[in-house]
């Protein structure tokens, strides 16, 4: 029996009132490569945070080499012989590769000064092992993303650490690069290093893994040996609930076109994106991290400089320069991909809702209270929202109510097109359902909804059509009727 | 559109009506009195100096203030008048923005680079200014210090300034004498002093204490010093607070800062009374002169700021012409001070200039040796 080097026992963690980790237990033996597959990036990130010492578990224990340890700060993580490869590079951009590699290495320095020659020799050697054809004097900011990750792997190697955690959520590597990583992992496994790969897709690294954990909504629902691994089985395991859940929702669709986009391109991301949106239709855009799906929304909303492309609203060509322009044309975007995109903290729910409509409810720039109250009341009725005290600061509300406040703001603008980015991110099942029901009710009223999301769950539940996005353009389109089929499921899930 | 129109209308109305409410004919400001030429005042300027344009001599002079301060304002006119009288190019008159020696040095460096060969300056800092003066003199640039003296020993040719200590001592004694004349045997004095960073402040503090320590002045004490009141805001704040709190306990006020004297004068004019306080100001700001005229202030210690500029340029011209300072000449040349009271007010401007002319008419003989050849 090989030695167990890492064990998590019943780890629970709640963030923003959402249980992201529910009684998670897993273990890792030396020389073993284990993949942890999960559908929630947040849950996976929390596990990374756990090892990094930046997230403290609410309950549960961590054992390393059979000894219980506490990870209270990043420094503890270092001491605990764990190397983490973060998905977002933690290389220091304006230091060179070599400087980054040896940033923390005491034995490559004499007192306060650095031993440059020794460092250089080691760096060259290391880059060769890693198969990276770059100079050690290259600035970290000039590296490509995957190269950055490999350099981080190099840092891990340099450490001679026993455990490597790789955060692979939402990263798109091409086959070559995956091969490179796999080679290094194999090498490491021979040196008895335990490797834990956290991934949100099924493809990558499955072949090098000895085992695979499957995580769904924060709890581990399966632990398979690679030999037992069948894609279909896993998909069924994950997607089981989706089939049953989605049937209950009535879908409404007309053929009156509201929005048409032709050949939209931006400087950095989008290439020639064309699509159209009908009245009362919910269309989802999904794709992996970095595919450009979010940028579509922002470009439509006037927040990304567009290089080319035409946007037609009700068959009339329009130009959108900024969000207030968009709102005037009844296109509203709500984004929840990052916290700072969301709400106006410190302000009350009421103020949050009416902020986009101040021009309409004020006279001579003075807000007329009766108009404001009327607007609030209308919106509350519309959403059957019940916030008893709408003067309290927004932080005082539960997460789902905060979301509803955002939706209320959107509805207060009477939108024709509603663009939503990750609308249920971070919510619990019950709350997710409430939000999705609201979306459906909007579409019933004829609002065209563009749902940009990476959550398979919600896409499958409410969409009429799904567009697959990669490399800045639409690569596939799936109609609702077809989503049922197994093949489409496969395509979808491989993207996510 | 309607809104914009309404707004524009409102603004227009405001613009039209508001000024109409106030009285609005601007009163012409009493500018610095028009300088009269020496002949007007019946003073003979040494012909040699006036006409003595030495062959090949350059007269690139500059006057540098110590910092931004209203006291310096008449310097410019004095210096210009001197240049006119002497028939030399109009000197550069400039100033650092703060009372900061480093800043003044930077300006002087620039002037030197531009070929200045004589500087009349008020050192921003009495002690630290000396280093620069030594450098300048080492380079063969003539330096005279005006208004404020550098700490001695100094390499400057001489210092033409009011003896601030003596001036304050005189004022303090005058206040005490006045109080005694009113029949008081004891009294409390208040000292409104200038910036603490100013070394003259220390001199003045010492002078006041010296006067009060005299046996015949027993009974008169210095109640309090309000320091750092040589900028308008702190002066306004401190003086109005002082008026509100303990003016009734104070018998005499001696001001040693241009701005605090001005604010005190303004406050007295506004109150229309001197609250039974004997106050002596310093310098000749409009408010102080008005307060004296109204009889609220007993007087003000004046030093001729105009003369500073005039004498400075005059002396620089002498030095440029090859005159040398007599070895036995004193370093400090007292520019004199006098207590300007209500009676002296009408002839004030004239007397100030006369003082300067009188001084320069004898300066060359008294303090300088003529050029050897």
């Amino acid at each position: 029996m090989r030695k167990e080097i890492l064990r998590l026992e019943n780890i629970c963690k709640t963030i923003d009132g959402v249980k992201v980790l529910k009684n998670v237990s897993l273990n890792l033996y030396e020389g073993e490569t284990v993949k942890l597959y999960g559908d929630e990036g947040r849950s996976l990130s929390s596990i990374v945070g756990l090892f990094g010492g930046v997230i403290k578990p609410d309950s549960g224990r961590i054992y390393i080499d059979g000894k219980e340890i506490k990870l209270a700060s990043p420094l503890d993580g270092k001491k605990a012989e764990i190397s983490i490869i973060h998905k977002k590079s933690d290389l220091i951009p304006n230091l060179t590769v070599m400087e980054n590699l040896f940033l923390e290495r005491k034995n490559y320095a004499r007192g306060l000064f650095l031993k440059e020659k020794k460092q250089r020799a080691r760096a060259v050697e290391l880059l060769e092992i890693l198969g990276l054809d770059i100079s050690p004097d290259m600035m970290a900011s000039d590296l490509k993303l995957e190269q950055m990750q490999i350099v981080q792997l190099g840092k891990a190697l340099l450490d001679d650490r026993k455990i490597i955690i790789m955060d692979h959520t939402h990263i798109l590597l091409d086959k070559e690069q995956i091969k490179l990583f796999e080679g290094v992992f194999n090498e490491l496994a021979k040196r008895n290093v335990g490797i834990l790969i956290l991934a949100q897709n099924l493809r990558d690294f499955t072949s090098v893994s000895d085992r695979m954990y499957i995580m769904k909504e924060g709890s581990i629902i399966g632990n398979l040996m690679t030999s037992e691994m069948e894609k279909d089985k896993i998909i069924q395991m994950i997607a089981k609930d989706y089939y049953s859940e989605k049937s209950g929702i009535y879908l409404n669709q007309t053929s009156e076109e509201v929005l048409r986009v032709e050949g939209l391109s931006t400087k950095n991301m989008l290439r020639n994106v064309s699509f159209s949106l009908n009245k009362g239709e919910i269309v989802s855009i999904t794709g992996s991290y970095g595919s450009g799906k979010y940028e579509v929304g922002y470009a439509l909303y006037g927040m990304e400089r567009t290089l080319g492309g035409k946007i037609y609203l009700h068959n009339k060509r329009i130009k959108i320069k900024n969000p207030s322009d968009a709102i005037k044309r009844k296109i509203v975007l709500l984004s929840f991909e990052k916290k700072e995109n969301g709400l106006l903290y410190n302000l009350s729910a009421k103020e949050n809702i009416t902020i986009s409509r101040l021009g309409n409810i004020s006279n001579f720039a003075i807000i007329r209270k009766e108009l404001e109250n009327w607007l609030i009341k209308t919106v509350y009725n519309d959403l059957s929202l019940n916030i008893e005290d709408d003067n309290i600061a927004i932080e005082g509300l539960s997460l789902v109510n905060q979301r509803k406040v955002s939706l209320a703001r959107a509805i207060s603008c009477n939108p024709d097109v509603l663009i939503l980015i990750d609308p249920t991110k971070g919510l619990e099942n019950e709350s997710k359902k409430q939000i999705l029901e609201l979306l459906v009710s909007f579409s019933d009223r004829g609002i065209a909804i563009l749902l940009i999301s990476s959550n398979l769950h919600e896409i499958l539940q409410v969409s009429h059509r799904v567009w697959l996005f990669s490399n800045g353009t639409i690569t596939g389109c799936i109609d609702r009727d077809m989503i049922e089929s197994r093949e489409q499921m496969n395509i979808l899930s491989s993207f996510i | 559109m309607k809104r914009v129109l309404a707004l524009v209308l409102a603004v227009c109305m405001l613009v039209v009506f508001l000024p109409a409410c106030g009285s609005s004919t601007p009163q012409p400001a009493p500018e610095t009195p028009k300088a009269q030429t020496a002949e007007d005042l019946g003073v003979d300027l040494s012909k040699e100096v006036v006409g003595g344009q030495k062959e090949g001599a350059e007269y690139n002079f500059a006057i540098v203030y110590g910092g931004v301060h209203p006291f310096f304002d008449p310097w410019l006119f004095g210096a210009q008048q001197a240049a006119l009288d002497l028939g030399i190019p109009i000197p550069i008159v400039t100033s650092p923005q703060n009372w900061d020696q480093t800043e003044q040095n930077v300006i002087i460096d620039g002037l030197v680079a531009g070929g200045i060969n004589g500087i009349g300056m008020f050192p921003s800092d009495a002690v630290a200014g000396n280093e620069k003066i030594s450098e300048l003199v080492g380079m063969g640039i003539d330096v005279v210090t005006l208004g404020g003296s550098p700490a001695t020993p100094s390499d400057a040719t001489f210092c033409y300034a009011t003896d601030v200590g003596a001036s304050v001592a005189f004022a303090t004694q005058a206040i005490i004498d006045e109080l005694k004349a009113q029949g008081k045997t004891e009294g409390k004095l208040l000292h409104l002093c200038s910036s603490l960073a100013d070394t003259n402040t220390q001199k003045r503090q010492a002078a006041i204490n010296e006067v009060l320590a005299k046996p015949e002045n027993a009974g008169f004490v210095l109640e309090w010093e309000l320091a750092d009141t040589d900028a308008t805001e702190p002066a306004e704040e401190a003086i109005s607070a002082m008026y509100a709190s303990y003016i009734d306990q104070v018998d005499g006020i001696v001001c040693t800062g241009y701005v605090n004297a001005q604010v005190l004068g303004k406050t007295m004019n506004e109150r229309g009374t001197n609250d039974g306080v004997v106050a002596i100001g310093i310098d000749d700001s409009a408010d102080v002169l008005a307060a004296i005229d109204n009889g609220y202030m007993k007087g003000t210690m004046t030093q001729s700021a105009w003369a500073m500029g005039y004498v400075g340029i005059y002396a620089l011209k002498l030095l440029a012409d090859g005159y040398t300072i007599k070895p036995d000449a004193p370093f400090f040349i007292d520019s004199g001070y006098f207590l300007l009271t209500q009676e002296g007010l009408p002839a004030y401007a004239e007397s100030q200039q006369k003082m300067a002319y009188d001084f320069v008419s004898t300066m060359a003989d008294k303090y300088f040796n003529p050029p050897a050849n």
């Binding site: 963030i15 909303y301 927040m303 106006l344 807000i367 005290d389 | 301060h69 306004e236 607070a241 709190s245």
Partner: protein, 337 residues
């Protein structure tokens, strides 16, 4: 759960009130303390003096508060105030413009200065921590302009009507200056409470990105915020010059410290998004009482500056403690859901 939320909402509202009452108590204690040492503290003269001096401090605090509310800092307030006053002086004395027009023109020029600040900040994309550096540069420029205008020579003998503003007391007790300060306070309170513009400032201050996504024109709000701040600063500078009876280039030179202190003491959040107009008013009053009390108590002049520094440290310390308390409350709340 709903109940607890409701309670919390009330607490949220009450916090501003309790905060304001807190400052009021400090003011009362301090006043009584000074009064026991110097019986003239509550004399009519001193009350008028206090009212006059604090009206300027309060306005300066407001000028800063408006900028802080929208998430920023402005160190050029004093320079704008001083420059506006100097322009009034120059217009009256050099150009012979009636003083009423002069005031309006100077305030408009102040507004232009604010626009200059705002446009530079938005155009240079200077957001966050370091945006104040732009105002440091403009401070130097504005100060330079007023020095160039005055050549260090103050304007004296201002028109009677002009000086009347600073000297007159309504009913013999209420200085005109404080009336103006109160009027501005009411306007500001109204602005932040009822005007769409005020709410947009708060929105940008609380979360710039979210405000932008909500359709608030962030750039415009930033520019107008600075214009607004500059106008208040100009009013403060001009008001102060009516009090002084002369206009020199040194007006506004030492406003920087208390422009921050007044709103911060009053409970305006440094990070932006929350203001307390009444608090800033009292904060300004408190600062004035301190500097007035220093004269009354005849505190040694050498330690006054030290005192000021300590007061502002205390004020930010309090602000931080409030913030931390709130953070903890938020955490507890999250855990409870």
């Amino acid at each position: 759960m709903k109940n607890s939320l409701k309670k919390q909402g009330a607490a949220e509202r009450n916090q501003q009130i309790s905060n304001t009452i807190g400052i009021l108590i400090v003011i009362i204690i301090l006043s009584v303390f000074v009064w026991t040492k110097s019986s003239n503290f509550f004399s009519r003269d001193n009350i008028i003096t206090l009212a006059r001096m604090c009206s300027v401090t309060i306005l300066v605090g407001y000028a800063q508060m408006v900028v802080i509310a929208g998430g920023g800092l402005n160190v050029s307030i004093g320079a704008i105030g001083g420059m506006s006053a100097v322009i009034v002086g120059a217009l009256i004395k050099r150009a012979g413009v009636p003083w009423g027009y002069a005031i309006i023109i100077a305030i408009l020029i102040g507004a232009v200065c604010g626009a200059f600040n705002g446009i530079l900040i938005t155009r240079l994309g200077a957001t966050g921590e370091i945006s104040w550096l732009v105002t440091l540069a403009t401070m130097s420029i504005f100060t330079g302009i007023s020095l160039t205008i005055t050549k260090a020579n103050p304007f004296y003998n201002l028109p009677k009507g002009y000086v009347w503003i600073g000297a007159h007391n309504v009913f013999g007790w209420i200085p005109v200056m404080i009336i103006i300060a109160v009027v501005v306070s009411v306007l500001l309170w109204y602005l932040f409470k009822y005007a769409s513009f005020g709410r947009q400032i708060l929105a940008v201050g609380s979360n710039q990105r979210a405000a932008e996504l909500s359709g608030v024109d962030v750039g415009r709000v930033m520019i107008f915020k600075h214009i607004f701040s500059a106008v208040i600063a100009a009013v403060a500078g001009i008001l102060f010059s009516t009090r002084l009876g002369s206009i020199g280039s040194d007006i506004g030179g030492d406003w920087m410290l208390f422009s921050f202190a007044a709103p911060l003491i009053g409970g305006t959040r440094m990070a932006g998004g929350r203001v307390n107009v009444a608090g800033a008013f009292l904060g300004g009053l408190l600062l004035t009482i301190v500097s007035n009390g220093v004269v009354h108590l005849q505190v040694n002049v050498y330690i006054v500056e030290l005192l000021e520094g300590i007061i502002i440290l205390l004020a930010v310390g309090l602000d931080r403690i409030r913030e931390m308390r709130e953070e903890r409350r938020e955490r507890l709340e999250r855990a409870a859901i």
